[in-house]
Amino acid sequence: MNRPFIWKLGIVSLAAVAAFGCAPVGTETSTGKPDPAGAGTAAPAADAKLAGNLEVQAFKGGFGIDFYEAALAEFGEKHPELKTKIEGDPRVWERLKPRMVAGDTPDLMFPGWGMDHWSLIADNQLMPLDAALDSPADGAEGTWRDQFLPDMLKIGQVDGKTYLLPLYVNLNGWWYDKAVFDKNGWKPPTNFAELKTLCAAVKAKGMAPITYQGKYPYYMIHGMLLPWAYSVGGADAMKAVQNLEPGAWKSDSMLQAAKMIVELRDLGYFQKGATAMSHTESQAEFVIGRAAMIPCGTWLYSEMKDNLTDKNQLTFFLPPPVEGGKGDPSALIVSIEPWMVPAKAKNPEAALAFYKYMTSPAKAAQFVSEKNTLTAIKGSESGIKLDVLRQPAALFAASKDAWAWQVRDWYKPLHTEIENALTSMLNGELTPEQFVERCEKAAEATRNDPNIAKRTL
């Protein structure tokens, strides 16, 4: 029975060698030059009648797709010649990826967190949207571009060209339960020293001071590592890291932040077992009162609302900054989940007109009131209905630097390595110095890899 196996091995290797150099069926070899894309399609005038088909694909997550479906229905009424279709799925990117490869794309898509948007950009699969942005807005004065908060638009831009458009905006911070805090006479901490004092008090009460979503280290990265590094080193330090500058990870800011995390761990302020917990598990621990604070984005309320009782008063606050740090204490980390138009879309005019409609001030405010989240459209906070959203809205409005951690989108293997290193540090296998050293090495490898497209802030 052994000889045929060796034959099989031989044939597989021969076939492999024979395949060397032949492009797989259905693929084109990249010329290596960026496509000198034109300015993209201008969206038609607001009252022009659209025709043809419009296909929209959307990620179906915590906010569902009912809002988009209703908006599309309304939009369809204004353009009776237009045949519209919208589909959603919690893992819609798994369907969209093969379609992108095949060149059979929808007209407008919101692929969700599982899609690698920046690879789409690198492969010239998305349409630049600046011409549309410079056209008149729908239902407001000025251009469409004016309706957006400029910092949010910047996140989806490369070399001044906009490929990704935001709708809702998530802020990253921490949460506590005001009811629990009031009962115990606790106040949310405004700096790291206060945090430690608070944790000691919480621990004395027999409650875990801080829990976190250890199975997905990016929560801790957004909630502790980055805010604290920013607080110590300021915006410039973070920019150096995002631009993969040599030595950026070994700066004082990152090392300090790592040490702060380890300090909290060593003082016993992290809930036991948090490193193994998923987001639903740790968030549940927080909601039922076994932990006092948790780092999480503003989506926490929507995600857990069916599990809340009247007694809960979930409140959002910023990660407590370091006293006397270079970074502005009002800074916060935002994340967007973008919408985009594939380069091969057959009806980009309709796609952009529809998206313009959904991002008009009236619709944006409606989204805010229905979904309890902030959006990137100016003035949409007028739609806030629930108290739980007022605090984040106020912090967002008052923030002098709302920035995004784009390393996670631009350099996925690097980010995986950072996550793994963080887990090892939490487990005591790496010291903070070794942690930043490992991240620095990974950043260097990314910097030196010619196959990875580099971006700069």
Partner: protein, 294 residues
Amino acid sequence: MQRRPGWFIAGFLAPALLLYVGLVLFPLQQAVQISFFQWRGTSSVVKPAGTANYQQVVRDPVFYEALGNNAWMAVVVGLVVFAVAMLAAHALKKRDRPAKILDALVLVPMAVSSVVAALLWQFMFHPQMGPVPELQKMLGLGEFQSGWLATPATALPAVGVALAWLSIGFYVVLFGAGMQQIPGEVMESADMDGIPGWAKFWRITWPLLWTVRRTAVIYWFISVMNTFAIVYLMTKGGPDHRTEVMLTYLYITAVENSQYGYGSALAVVNLVLVLAISGLLMWLMRRDPAEARA
């Protein structure tokens, strides 16, 4: 009588072979081709890479760690699975009530999907409420700072337990079937000769089970190398690759990190290794050891 069944053979093989070649081998060959390119998986743009991906595999410490984890599961968990399955099969020979009940239930874990099993075992090890940490506390052994599934030393064994739970039923039935095939007279004559229980098992039953053992070993090996869902859902390969197996590494590389070329190279290497080692195992176990000795 000479049978010249050429057309018959071709006719009988054709449907299966055509479907297989067209829908399995053809895409597989394309996937192998992809391993010689860089591909992000989001468009049809590819960049030729020669053997760069394979060179990277050879230099990749995570690849070796994943392979080591697969090997650990195959050997350590395998030994446990086989030992428990043998014991259970042996214990089930007497048809009393507990035996009949277990008999009815033994394949149930296999019938429920990996999603259920992963959720279940994640709960069993839950740091705040799971029975395993509870037991640990009750026995005075304290608790883990990071929980069973994220503590480097215990993560892989914990996943191994879940894998064993899923898999054992199949082997209990397999070994049981093998034991039932042993002619009654052989066992009776052993009894009459006064050979005690353990010796009887070791010197008579065990050697006669060699075909079953061979099937079991090869099947177990292949299923360990192809383990994906239970590991991915329980730990995603963490903490820091301590539970990474070949397939989770492949998935994260290709699908999550958009490196399909490298992922395909990993898969091809995995495939070749599985072929080679299965072949080796088949060759090592090719002869009935009793015959060889006789």
